[in-house]
């Protein structure tokens, strides 16, 4: 009997081995080639929702932007960034006082077909749809993180929001004065004050148009069942793993740009004037770990990838900053582009000690830091030292402005510390340095701690969960902390507002910096278009910043990425959502 049972076991094991073998063989067939017309790209995190009103983070914004569109979009190939009409027929006409914007909407732009429409067919987009969509961003029951784009800007919108705060049902019938549909295809926006950034914010996902009847039918499930006007339709969303899109068959209102910048590769214009999107399908794979991302890229399963920190030196010759030969031989293309962001360590200017210690104390701390070394050790030199909050590539960035404290000079730091009244760090309490979780944050904080030790200043590192860190900043309880800010739109104002007094915590000015001259200049420049006069004001604001040093400016990051030889039309440094509709995979090259 026992011999029979053993032979059964053997049979089962053989069967199992066969099944595993077959499954493995099927796995192997899916190598490099794959289906045609598919663009495969990575994402570092999943979208939290596919509702444009919820597009508060980079990943959600990118995922949403393939499905939804607004009136305008960024030119794909132009730097510095410029806007072009998207659902709008042309750029708006603006009244002389800069308060009234009138948009004509393209005829025949439709929402995609959906079972949630009556009859299952998508309908034309109208000016009323935009009014509903903008009011929805201000809807107190929706709680969109995007309300700031319209907060205090559109006539009557804040009043409408306040009126509906405690209402059981939000009243969309009473439309704010600042939003008018002159006819089905003409939208007029009236502002409270000039707001030169209006067109930039309308290019964000928050400015996208949504179909009212579908939103109201689906309620909170709208974010899982998106219906937009964009180049793609959601095919399948495996939360935490992959988002797949298919081409919107009715999409006809956007074409590939016909102009590039001087010095651009002429191949970037190979698809000039062609109808977008160029690919039938896009798959965004979500990688929270770098090894699978990198191995998938190397095996040709991804068309593009950033270079993980741990692999950087095996890919880039750090002496020349060029791609190593083995990757060049495979036809891979390296792209290097500055990110419109800034990392910084903020001081809470309301903290009793920080307030008392004065600017010389903060200048001394800045001089004792060594941003170049930080860049080398923690970023593989992927960044440039920040002298001001404003990153390169934005209107208002001044590459000639040198912050005198953005350098390493320990002796000068000691001298300044003594002048501040704390020779050798005497009399300085242990400074509380708040950081988020993660090994790298910890290592960078410890590096800062070691450097301050040389100055005679003791640092206590406090590791926080992200929400805990936010609570401490918002309640003005943190003393010092390290964070980063990424651009919402390509204008210095988006960074300078981080130090505007009235924006103090829980607003974006977590440092609670409040300099009357800086505030006055900010109020002046925020309503101005980019001009030499405005740049002069910004320069003065930078000088004030560099004297007061409410932050220790860190770096502006630079992203390094690799494209496969078959990926066409890639241009780095685009700010306007996902670039998927402009990209092309050359399947003939891919198959070789």
């Amino acid at each position: 009997m026992s011999s029979i049972s053993f032979s059964k076991t053997t049979r089962y094991l053989t069967g199992l081995a066969l099944v595993l073998g077959l499954v493995s063989m099927s796995a192997c067939t899916g190598s490099k080639g794959g289906a045609k017309g598919v663009l495969k790209l990575p994402a570092a995190a999943d979208a939290k929702s596919l509702d444009p009103a919820m597009a508060d983070d980079l990943y959600t914004n990118e995922a949403v932007s393939l499905i939804y569109e607004g009136l305008v979009e960024y030119e794909y190939l132009k730097r510095p960034h410029q806007l072009r009409p998207l659902i709008a027929e042309a750029m708006p006409t603006v009244s002389a006082d800069g308060l009234v914007y009138t948009f004509k909407i393209k005829k025949g732009v439709k929402f995609t077909d959906s079972a949630h429409f009556e009859g299952g067919k998508g309908r034309d987009v109208t000016a009323q749809d935009f009014i509903y969509s903008f009011m929805r961003i201000a809807d107190p029951k929706i709680n969109s993180g995007g309300f700031w784009i319209f907060d205090g800007k559109i006539k009557g919108l804040n009043e409408w929001r306040d009126k509906n705060k405690d209402a059981a049902n939000v009243d969309y019938a009473s439309i704010p004065d600042g939003l008018k549909a002159l006819d089905d295809s003409t939208l007029q926006i009236t502002l409270v004050n000039p707001y030169p950034q209006l067109l930039f914010v309308l290019a964000m996902s928050y400015g996208a148009v949504v179909p009212r009847e579908v939103v109201e039918k689906l309620g909170k499930d709208f974010g899982n069942n998106p219906v937009g006007t964009g180049p793609y339709i959601l095919d399948r969303w495996m939360r935490g793993s992959k988002i797949s899109y298919v081409r919107n068959p009715n999409y006809a209102h956007s074409t590939y740009p016909t102009e590039a910048e001087e010095g651009d590769d002429p191949a970037l214009l190979a698809d000039a004037g062609k109808k977008l999107p160029l690919m039938d399908r896009i798959e965004l794979s979500i990688f929270t770990e770098s090894q699978p991302l990198w191995l998938n890229f190397l095996s040709g399963q991804l068309d593009r990838a950033g270079i993980p920190k741990d692999n950087f030196e095996s890919v880039i010759d750090t002496g020349t900053n060029n791609l190593k030969k083995e990757f060049v031989d495979k036809g891979m293309v390296l792209s290097i582009a500055p990110s419109p962001d800034v990392t910084y360590t903020a001081f809470n200017m309301l903290d009793p000690f920080i307030k008392k210690a004065g600017p010389k104390f903060r200048q001394a701390i800045a001089l004792a830091g060594d941003t170049k070394d930080t860049l080398k050790v923690f970023y593989n030199n992927r960044g440039i030292p920040a002298h001001t909050p404003v990153p390169p590539g934005l209107a208002g960035y001044d590459e000639n402005f040198i912050n005198p404290y953005q350098r390493f000079d320990l002796e000068a730091a000691k001298k300044l510390l003594a002048e501040a009244g704390y020779p050798g760090g005497k009399g300085v309490p242990v400074l509380q340095y708040e950081i988020g979780q993660g090994a790298e944050s910890r290592q960078m904080a410890e590096d800062f701690q070691r450097r301050m030790d040389k100055l005679g200043i003791k640092i206590q590192i406090n590791v926080n969960q992200f929400s805990e860190l936010l609570s401490k900043i918002d309640q003005k309880k943190a003393m010092m902390w390290g964070v980063a800010w990424g651009a919402d739109y390509p204008d210095a104002e988006n960074f300078l507002q981080l130090l505007y007094g009235p924006n103090a915590a829980p607003g974006p000015n977590g440092a609670n910096y409040n300099n009357p001259e800086y505030n006055k200049l900010f109020e002046q420049m925020r309503y101005m278009q980019d001009s030499p006069e405005r740049r002069q004001i910004i320069r003065r604001m930078m000088e004030i910043f560099a004297t007061d040093m409410p932050w220790l400016p860190g770096i502006h990051r630079v992203t390094y990425g690799l494209s496969q030889k078959w990926l066409q039309n890639y241009k780095p440094g685009f700010m306007g959502g996902h670039i998927g509709k402009f990209l092309r995979v050359n399947d003939d090259l891919k198959g070789k």
Binding site: S2, S5, T9, L16, L20, V23, S24, S26, A27, C28, G30, S31, D46, K48, S49, D51, M54, D56, D57, P140, K141, N143, G145, F147, W148, D151, K165, K220, G223, N224, M238, R239, G240, S241, K242, S285, I286, F287, T288, E289, Q291, P292, L295, N296, L298, S299, Q301, N464, Q465, F466, S467, E468, L470, S471, K472, D474, W485, P506, G507, P508
Partner: protein, 311 residues
């Protein structure tokens, strides 16, 4: 037995209440306001206040706790703060995926461990026994991360035997993505399990009934399979049944490296995003599963050992 089961289920109520209360205390002791995280980088006091009201965080603590209990009692776990998805949908999708990864790995690793454990217990003290035990100790000493990194790099990338990562929810399609994670899971589980089973079998091998069986003239296979294995079933069953809830809860690292959208991944994200309703639901369901499977193992004791009576 019925009365016993009902009584044990009633005991579950204070345990669940205690769990929810501790969890609630933790949320209120550990600083960090979910509304701040949700409000985003342009938060204003007004926006934060509106979000707090929407989430019910502006209520007094007992009001919030009562809301939580009411949701759990009605099996309406509400929606995720972060994604606005129904938590029930999130759990059902994630549990099925994690189970697809964990269950086959569990069955295979248990089968292998039992067979090898029985075998080396029989040949205790020999070079085979010592070699396998030494390998097991060495295998246990290596971090899970090493198995994942090496497995993914060698088996998937270098040798192309499996996809590097990914998942497909189709009932057939999913398996091509699960084979490698399952293999790693099995490799990782076999070493500690076979040492555990070896110890149990060795305990049994020195019992009088084994000597009696042998002296009756029964063959080794019969003694091992019909007597030793059967008598060792109680600790084995305990180990097996108690492992089942963890199969559903998933393996955080494996799921993360292989892009498998299971519950492990869900829990990690909920912690990172301070997504309290998801954390509460997962903790309560985890506790409940643990209680149920504990009860199940007690019932199974009575079935495999007539001396055990449930009163």
């Amino acid at each position: 037995m019925f009365a016993y089961i009902v009584r044990r289920l009633l005991y579950a109520i204070p345990i669940l209440l205690g769990t929810t209360f501790i969890l609630f205390l933790l949320f209120n002791v550990v600083p960090g306001d979910p509304a701040l995280q949700l409000a985003g980088k342009h938060a204003t006091p007004e926006v934060i206040q509106t979000i707090r009201a929407e989430l019910g965080l502006d209520k007094p603590w007992y009001g919030q706790y009562f809301d939580m209990l009411r949701q759990l009692a009605t099996f309406d776990f509400g929606r995720s703060y972060w994604t606005k998805q129904k938590i029930t949908d999130m759990i059902v999708a994630g549990a099925g995926t994690s189970f697809s990864l964990g269950f086959p790995a569990f069955i295979i690793s248990t089968s292998i461990s039992l067979v090898i454990g029985l075998f080396i217990a029989l040949y205790r003290g020999t070079i085979i026994d010592k070699t396998i035990v030494a390998f097991s100790v060495a295998a246990q000493s290596v971090s899970l991360l090493v198995y994942i990194l090496a497995g993914q790099y060698l088996l998937a990338y270098q040798w192309g035997l499996f996809p590097i990562s990914g998942y497909d929810p189709g009932m057939i399609e999913r398996w091509q993505y699960l084979v490698l994670p399952i293999l790693i899971f099995v490799f990782l589980s076999v070493a500690p399990e076979l040492r555990f089973y070896r110890t149990i079998f060795l305990d049994e091998l020195y019992q009088d009934y084994v000597r009696t069986a042998r002296s009756k003239g029964l063959g080794t296979k019969t003694v091992m399979l019909r007597h030793v294995l059967k008598n060792a079933m109680i600790p084995i069953l305990t180990n097996l049944v108690i492992s089942i809830p963890f199969l559903i809860l998933g393996s955080v690292l494996i799921e993360s490296f292989f892009q498998i959208p299971g519950l492990g991944d869900l829990i990690v994200k909920a912690i990172a995003n301070n997504d309290r309703p998801v954390l509460v639901s997962m903790t309560v369901l985890g506790t409940f599963a643990y209680i149920i499977f504990n009860l199940l193992s007690d019932i199974l004791y009575a079935m495999v050992d007539p001396r055990v009576q449930l009163k």
